[in-house]
C-alpha cells in the first residue's frame, strides 16, 4: 500500500507546462524529499496532492483516496504545511490550534489534550496565549507544523518547510520532523531546494526539474548512480611522487590518482573510510603526510549530474513569504 501514488500527472497554465507527466509511488512511513529549484513544479505537485488545484490530466491517490473525486477524505487524512506562512496573525497560537481542530470535528476534551501536547512539543506552550503576530518566523513555522498535525493525520506534507529560516531554526524544524515521524508513524512528503535538508531527512529523494522527475532513489542510491566520487587530497613529503601514485592506485576503492606538485588528488569510493589506510600505506614507504582534505560527494553533485546545473539557491532565497508559492513565474527559462 502506497501513501501517495501519482500516475502521469500533468498541469498546464495556459501555454506553460508546470507538471509534465509525474508518476510517483511513496510507501507508507517513508520520508520522501522532492528536490528541485524554484519553478520546478514542486508546489504545483503539492497543490494537486492536497486538492487545492485540479490536474490537467493524470491521476493521484493520497491515503488511498482519489484527489479529484474524494477530496473531503483526502483533506481529512493529510496534514499540510504550506510554503507561505498562513497563520492568522490576529489570533493567539492556542485559538488558532483550537479553531483548526474544530474544522476536523474534534471534541472539546480531545482538542484541549492534543493542542496542549503539540504546543509543548513544538516549544510554544509558554507563548500559546500570545497573538501569532508577535511570533518570530521560526515560531510561526513550528506552530504551522503543530497545526498540520492537530487531527493526527497519517500523511504530513510540507512545502519548503524551512525556507527563509535562519540555520538554527532550520535545525529545530528538522529535529521536530524526526520526532513527529517516530511518534506518529507518519509518512512525510517534503519539498525543498536545500540539499542538506533533503539529505538529512529523506529516505528517498526525487529530483524534479521543469515539471519532470529526473531521478528517484535513496540518497545513497542516487550518489552511486553518478560517476563522480569522493575526492581525497594528500600533501606528502619525503617520497618520490611517482612511487606514491603507484602505491595509492593499488588500493581497491581508488579509481584514479592525479599528481599536482607535492599533492596526490585521489578519486575514491567512501573516502572517509579510505583515508587511514591510504595514509598508512604512504607512511610504510617512509613518506610524511603533511595535509589531508576530503571532499565528499554530495547531493549537489547528484543534482548537477541530473540537471546539468547547480541548484539556484541564491535565487530561491529571494522568494518572499507573501508572494510565496504562486503560479510558477519563471517557467521554461
Amino acid at each position: 500500500m502506497y501513501a501517495i501514488e501519482t500516475e502521469n500527472l500533468v498541469k498546464k497554465y495556459g501555454g506553460l507546462t508546470a507538471l509534465d507527466g509525474v508518476s510517483l509511488k511513496i510507501p507508507e512511513g517513508d520520508c520522501f524529499g522532492l528536490l528541485g529549484p524554484n519553478g520546478a513544479g514542486k508546489t504545483t505537485l503539492i497543490r494537486i496532492l492536497t486538492t487545492l488545484i485540479r490536474p490537467t490530466s493524470g491521476r493521484a491517490r493520497v491515503a488511498g483516496f482519489d484527489v479529484a473525486k474524494e477530496k473531503a477524505s483526502v483533506r481529512g487524512a493529510i496534514g499540510v504545511v504550506p510554503q507561505a506562512m498562513t497563520s492568522d496573525l490576529d489570533l493567539t497560537g492556542l485559538e488558532l490550534m483550537d479553531i483548526y481542530a474544530r474544522f476536523y470535528g474534534m471534541g472539546k476534551k480531545e482538542r484541549r489534550e492534543r493542542t496542549d501536547e503539540l504546543l509543548s512539543m513544538v516549544g510554544l506552550r509558554e507563548r500559546a496565549g500570545d497573538l501569532v503576530a508577535t511570533y518570530s518566523g521560526g515560531m510561526r513555522r513550528r506552530l504551522e507544523i503543530a497545526r498540520g498535525l492537530v487531527h493526527r493525520p497519517s500523511i504530513l506534507i510540507l512545502d519548503e518547510p524551512t525556507i527563509g529560516l535562519d540555520p538554527q531554526s532550520r535545525h529545530v524544524v528538522w529535529e521536530l520532523l524526526e520526532k513527529f515521524r517516530k511518534n506518529d508513524r507518519l509518512t512525510i512528503l517534503l519539498t525543498t531546494h536545500y540539499m542538506e535538508e533533503a539529505e538529512s531527512l529523506s529516505d528517498h529523494v526525487a529530483i524534479i526539474d521543469y515539471g519532470r522527475i529526473v531521478a528517484l532513489d535513496t540518497v545513497e542510491g542516487l550518489k552511486k548512480q553518478i560517476p563522480q566520487k569522493d575526492t581525497i587530497e594528500l600533501t606528502v613529503s619525503n617520497i618520490d611522487m611517482g612511487k606514491a601514485k603507484e602505491e595509492i592506485s593499488g588500493h581497491p576503492s581508488v579509481s584514479s590518482v592525479a599528481v599536482n606538485e607535492d599533492t596526490l588528488i585521489i578519486s575514491v569510493d567512501n573516502g572517509a573510510n579510505a583515508i587511514p589506510e591510504l595514509v598508512d600505506r604512504l607512511k610504510s614507504l617512509g613518506a610524511k603526510v603533511t595535509r589531508v582534505t576530503l571532499k565528499e560527494q554530495t547531493l549537489e553533485d547528484v543534482f548537477i549530474h541530473f540537471t546539468g546545473r547547480p541548484i539556484r539557491e541564491e535565487e530561491a532565497r529571494k522568494v518572499s513569504f507573501l508572494l510565496g508559492a504562486g503560479v510558477p513565474r519563471q517557467w521554461g527559462k
Binding site: 487545492l52 488545484i53 490576529d90 489570533l91
Partner: protein
C-alpha cells in the same frame, strides 16, 4: 455546525482585535448624519438677493415689503437694495447674489391701471436648487401683493392652503436616520463577511483553510454569520446614537413590536447585502479593488434608495433601478416603522422583498464562491 461556528468565532475574534474598525463602523454613519443633515437643509435659508428699484412708486414698495416679510420671517432671503442694475448683475455673475429682482420704471403705474405689470428676476442658473427656491419665493411674494387688490369678500371666499402634517413633526436630519442606518449596514457588510475572504486571499491565509475539510457552505455561512452579527450590532447602535443626536428618544417612540420589526428589517437587509458582497467580491484577491468597488457601490445603492430624495422624482430608468435596490425597501420600511408607527401590515411588502433578496443573494454568493486556489 461546529465548523460553521469555528469560522464564525474566528471572525468575531479577529474583528474585536481591531477596535479602530469597531469604533469607525459606528462613528462614520453618525458623522454622515450630522454632515448630511446640515448640508441638505430641508428649506433653504439666507439666500442673498439684490433688489434694484427703478420705479420708486407705491407698487414697488409693496413688492419690497412682501420680500422683507420673507426675510424677517422664514429668513429665506438676505435682501440688499442696490441702486445700479449693472452692479447687481455683476454681483450675480460673481456669486455674491443668488438672484436679482428688478422693479422697472412704470411698474406702479401699470399696476394701478390694472394692466400687466412685470418684474424682472435674474437668477444664477448654476445654483439650480437655490435659484428654484428664490424663484418660488419671489413668485409667492408678488402674488401676495396682487391679492391686496381683490375685495375683502372674495378673499374670504378664496381657498386657503393650510398645511396639515399627518405625522409628528419630523426634522430633515431625523428623516435621514433610516438612510444612515442602511449606510451603516452597507459599510458593515462591506468590511466583514466577504471582505475577510479577500483579505485571507491577499495574505495567503485562505490556502490553509482550503486544506481542511471545511466545505463551501461552512466557509460562506460562517463568514456571513459573523458579518451578520457584527453588522446588526453596529446598525442598532447607529440607530440609537443617531436618533439621540437628532433628538429622538426611541424608547418613547417605539413599541416592542415596532422595535422587533426594525430589527427584522436590519437583519434581512444585512443578509441580503452580505450575500451580494459574496457575489461581487467572492473571487477578488486585493483589498484595493474592494475599496474602489465599495465606494462606487455605496453611492449606487444609497442615493437611489429614497434615503435623501424621494424616488417619485427620479427619471423612469432610475426609478426602475430603485425598485430592485434592496436599500429602497429597507429605507421605506424603517421610515414607516420609526415615524408612522406602522405595523407589520404596512411593511410586509418590504419585508417580503428583503427576505427573498437575502435568500437569493446568499445562495448566489455561495454558488459563486470558489473553494480552490
Amino acid at each position: 455546525m461546529n465548523r460553521f461556528k469555528a469560522i464564525l468565532e474566528r471572525d468575531l475574534r479577529k474583528f474585536i482585535r481591531n477596535p479602530l474598525v469597531v469604533a469607525m463602523s459606528v462613528l462614520m454613519p453618525v458623522i454622515y448624519l450630522v454632515i448630511l443633515g446640515n448640508s441638505f437643509q430641508g428649506e433653504l435659508k439666507r439666500l442673498p438677493v439684490a433688489i434694484v428699484d427703478q420705479d420708486n412708486g407705491p407698487g414697488a414698495e409693496r413688492v419690497k415689503e412682501a420680500l422683507r416679510a420673507l426675510e424677517s420671517g422664514p429668513r429665506t432671503f438676505e435682501l440688499r437694495t442696490v441702486s445700479s442694475q449693472g452692479f447687481a448683475m455683476e454681483g450675480l455673475r460673481e456669486g455674491v447674489f443668488t438672484g436679482v429682482v428688478v422693479i422697472p420704471p412704470g411698474f406702479s403705474r401699470d399696476l394701478a391701471r390694472g394692466s400687466v405689470a412685470e418684474l424682472g428676476l435674474f437668477l444664477d442658473n448654476a445654483e439650480t436648487i437655490a435659484a428654484n427656491a428664490v424663484q418660488a419665493a419671489v413668485t409667492r411674494a408678488v402674488a401676495e401683493t396682487g391679492r391686496e387688490f381683490v375685495s375683502i369678500r372674495e378673499e374670504r371666499a378664496a381657498p386657503r392652503l393650510r398645511p396639515i402634517e399627518l405625522y409628528r413633526k419630523i426634522d430633515y436630519d431625523q428623516t435621514l436616520i433610516p438612510g444612515v442606518v442602511i449606510m451603516a449596514i452597507f459599510l458593515g457588510a462591506m468590511t466583514t463577511g466577504a471582505f475577510n475572504i479577500v483579505m485571507d486571499r491577499f495574505l495567503g491565509v485562505e490556502e490553509s483553510y482550503f486544506l481542511t475539510p471545511l466545505n463551501k457552505r461552512d466557509i460562506v455561512m460562517g463568514l456571513v454569520g459573523s458579518g451578520l452579527l457584527i453588522t446588526t450590532i453596529i446598525a442598532v447602535t447607529v440607530l440609537v446614537v443617531s436618533s439621540l443626536v437628532s433628538g429622538i428618544y426611541l424608547w418613547r417612540l417605539l413599541t416592542i413590536d415596532g422595535f422587533l420589526l426594525i430589527l427584522a428589517v436590519i437583519v434581512l437587509s444585512t443578509l441580503g447585502l452580505q450575500g451580494l458582497m459574496f457575489v461581487i467580491m467572492g473571487r477578488l484577491n486585493h483589498p484595493r479593488i474592494v475599496g474602489v468597488l465599495g465606494g462606487f457601490m455605496n453611492v449606487i445603492f444609497f442615493f437611489p434608495s429614497g434615503a435623501i430624495y424621494p424616488i417619485e422624482s427620479f427619471p423612469a430608468w432610475l426609478k426602475a433601478f430603485a425598485y430592485v435596490n434592496p436599500e429602497t425597501y429597507s429605507v421605506h420600511a424603517l421610515r414607516a416603522l420609526m415615524f408612522k408607527g406602522a405595523s407589520l401590515g404596512a411593511v410586509k411588502g418590504d419585508i417580503l422583498f428583503l427576505a427573498v433578496f437575502a435568500v437569493v443573494a446568499v445562495a448566489a454568493g455561495t454558488a459563486a464562491f470558489k473553494r480552490e486556489l
